[in-house]
């Protein structure tokens, strides 16, 4: 199905204004006031400088499902259906990680679960890339392959719509009810394919210098000296984890003042010294390079064994945000370079390894 861009926006405005389909808010990327290169998720309003076809926003989509600080006890009962438009492939892959972490047999986070159920997601192909984008190094594509309800691919003055779920079918019906959609021609499909190829080619070029082996499990055995070297300019601010779409570490604070217990959940960061500090002051990773290393191992090793998914989508946000100018891609590449020394994690035995 194809819809004219103008018509699509008028549909979005009606969704929000008239509560079409029960949607109370429409959220989409908008250009930052401070920089032309930065996009942020915001609620639809009258001004029209929205960008569905550029690269990912600065704020990861996680922030719309898992807030930096929220009261988790007593549970708030809210009723609200939302539509997020312009989500990117990388962020949808991040949601896959969060889904496994926050909705599983051992535990369901009620708030995250609520927003997942009550949010409809329309993704859109990336027509441009940011210098830090590197999803291609992680088997990602500059367009979403799954995880969306509807997907938009830009062609001149229209969008080509792909349905990705039953929620998406429902949404498409709603669109058809209110604006004109037309049939696709083989020509359209070809032009979309060509567009996608073009962007993929750009990504490949941009990241050629960072290509690496994919034996991420080997990160564990990297010589500690290399981590010390790589982390030299890290100041431990925690920016990289706060901006990462797959990080979800949290702390739970008690803010009970009356008889009823109140618990507040906030983001935490493994880059901070106080993270995982136990009573008495011991912490598993007192040194900065240990915390620095932990982030890489968490992304490529621990999360992989926990969820069978990599914890990095290649969105590049941590690169843009780092005040220490740490180039994440370069660090990963460097660490995976040979030769390596095998270090047992418990620190009990250290032996030279054969060069794999």
């Amino acid at each position: 199905m194809i819809v004219k861009i103008q018509d699509f926006y008028s549909f979005l405005h009606r969704c929000q204004k008239d509560c079409l389909g029960g949607f109370k808010s429409v959220i989409l990327p908008k250009k930052s006031q401070h920089s032309d290169d930065d996009l942020f998720f915001t609620t639809l309003s009258e001004d029209n400088d929205y960008f569905l076809d550029s690269y990912r926003t600065v704020d990861p989509i996680r922030m719309l499902f898992y807030f930096p600080r929220e009261i988790v006890l007593p549970a708030k009962k809210s009723k609200c259906k939302r539509l997020i438009v312009g989500a990117k492939g990388c962020d949808l892959r991040a949601l896959e990680v969060l889904d496994k972490a926050l909705i599983n047999d051992d535990f369901v986070d009620p708030i995250y679960n609520f927003w997942r159920e009550n949010t409809y997601i329309i993704s859109s192909d990336c027509m441009t890339i940011s210098p830090s984008c590197h999803c291609n190094l992680l088997d990602g594509k500059p367009y979403a392959e799954e995880g969306f309800d509807l997907n938009l691919s830009r062609m001149d003055d229209s969008y080509y719509i792909t349905v990705g779920s039953s929620k998406g079918e429902e949404l498409l019906l709603l669109i058809k009810e209110h604006v004109t959609v037309s049939k696709v021609s083989p020509n359209n499909i070809n032009s979309i394919k060509a567009n996608r190829k073009l962007v993929e080619e750009k990504l490949r070029k941009q990241n050629k210098q960072y290509e690496r082996t994919e034996n991420y499990y080997d990160l564990r055995s990297v010589d500690i000296e290399k981590w010390i070297e790589a982390s030299k300019s890290c100041i431990g601010c925690g920016g990289c984890t706060n901006i990462c779409p797959t990080c979800y570490c949290m702390i739970l604070n008690d803010e009970t003042v009356t008889k009823d217990f109140v618990k507040v959940r906030s983001y935490d960061s493994c880059q901070l010294h106080g993270y995982a500090r136990v009573a008495g002051g011991d912490t598993p990773r007192p040194k900065m390079y240990q915390r620095f290393r932990n982030r890489y191992l968490c992304k490529f090793d621990y999360m992989k064994s926990n969820f069978n998914l990599l914890g990095c989508t290649g969105c590049g946000r941590c690169i843009d945000t780092c005040p220490g100018k740490i180039e994440f891609r370069k660090v990963v590449q460097k660490m995976l370079e040979l030769p390596r020394k095998r270090v047992s994690s418990s620190g009990m035995k250290i032996q030279e390894s054969e060069n794999v």
């Binding site: 972490a101 051992d106 535990f107 009620p110 570490c249 739970l252 217990f261 002051g281 926990n306 994690s345």
Partner: protein
């Protein structure tokens, strides 16, 4: 299990406080509704408006209407635990984790090592085993403390020693001036020289400060215990209890939901185990 809100808290009233040592006390709690747990599992204890922390009950899992928790004053939350008074209400969440696989220990010679406040979870295990003592061949308990006045559960020791199948050895690291002690004076790991257990296919359970866990494990390996028979209670920052917060991650494991008890075999190649 988590049908409602996983963060929900059950209020519990402190009905008695036992001062075990200058820095360790046992809170005896009566929760608003019974809490069933398996020995070795832990709960999150909330001090209202202060915070919460993970603690393993020190009472038998056959008792669900009441719960004992033994706590050492070491940090922010525990300082308030030590200010709490009889009649105060605290909060409990849980239980979390897997607990000790006691059903696998039928007819075995069980060795337990508890150092300092690490005696608390092992007391729960010990009391639970005592309840079904006929099922086991023997229980040897090695208890260690830094000094005589830091030895906890003194009031129970005579009664525990009455059982034929129980061998209970205690040691202190040193005897400061003015304190008295008539039992062993050595590191807890040295007590291994005073016992005679066939390490083959018998379980040993270790709980104590990280140094004791690390060197205790090395000594046990030397004694002849197999990696798979050494059970370690890992002390990690377990904020949530159900694998959300990630603070207790050790490589691919979460201390909270995969532990807090692990065999050495499971974790020996993981990250951050002794720290």
């Amino acid at each position: 299990m988590y049908n409602a809100n996983p963060y929900d808290v059950i209020p519990a009233v402190i009905y008695e406080i036992i001062e075990e040592s200058p820095t360790i006390r046992t809170l005896r709690l009566r929760p608003e509704s019974p809490i069933s747990f398996k020995t070795g599992q832990f709960v999150e204890l909330t001090i209202p408006n202060i915070g919460e922390g993970p603690f393993t009950p020190s009472s038998s899992h056959y008792i669900t209407e009441e719960m004992d928790i033994t706590i050492m004053k070491t940090g922010f939350v525990t300082e308030y635990v030590h200010k709490a008074r009889v009649g105060d209400t605290v909060g409990l969440r849980g239980p979390y984790g897997k607990g000790y696989p006691i059903e696998e220990w039928k007819d075995k010679n069980i060795l337990i090592m508890g150092g300092g406040v690490g005696m608390a979870p092992t007391r729960s295990l010990f009391l639970t085993l005592l309840h079904d003592i006929d099922d086991y061949n023997s229980i040897t308990f090695l208890a260690g403390a830094r000094a005589p006045k830091e030895v906890i559960y003194k009031q129970h020791i005579d009664e525990w020693r009455k059982h034929d199948k129980v061998n209970f050895l205690r040691a202190v690291d040193k005897i400061p001036e003015g304190e008295r002690w008539s039992e062993e004076v050595c590191l807890i790991t040295k007590l291994l020289e005073k016992i005679d257990i066939d390490p083959k296919d018998n379980p040993v359970i270790v709980c104590g400060p990280p140094v004791m866990m690390k060197f205790g494990t090395l000594d046990l390996l030397e004694y002849g215990y197999a990696d798979k028979d050494i059970y370690l209670s890992m002390e990690k920052k377990m904020y949530c209890g159900f694998g959300q917060c990630r603070h207790c991650v050790m490589g691919k494991y979460y201390a909270c939901k995969d532990g807090p008890v692990f065999t050495y075999d499971m974790i020996k190649n993981e990250e951050n185990i002794w720290e």
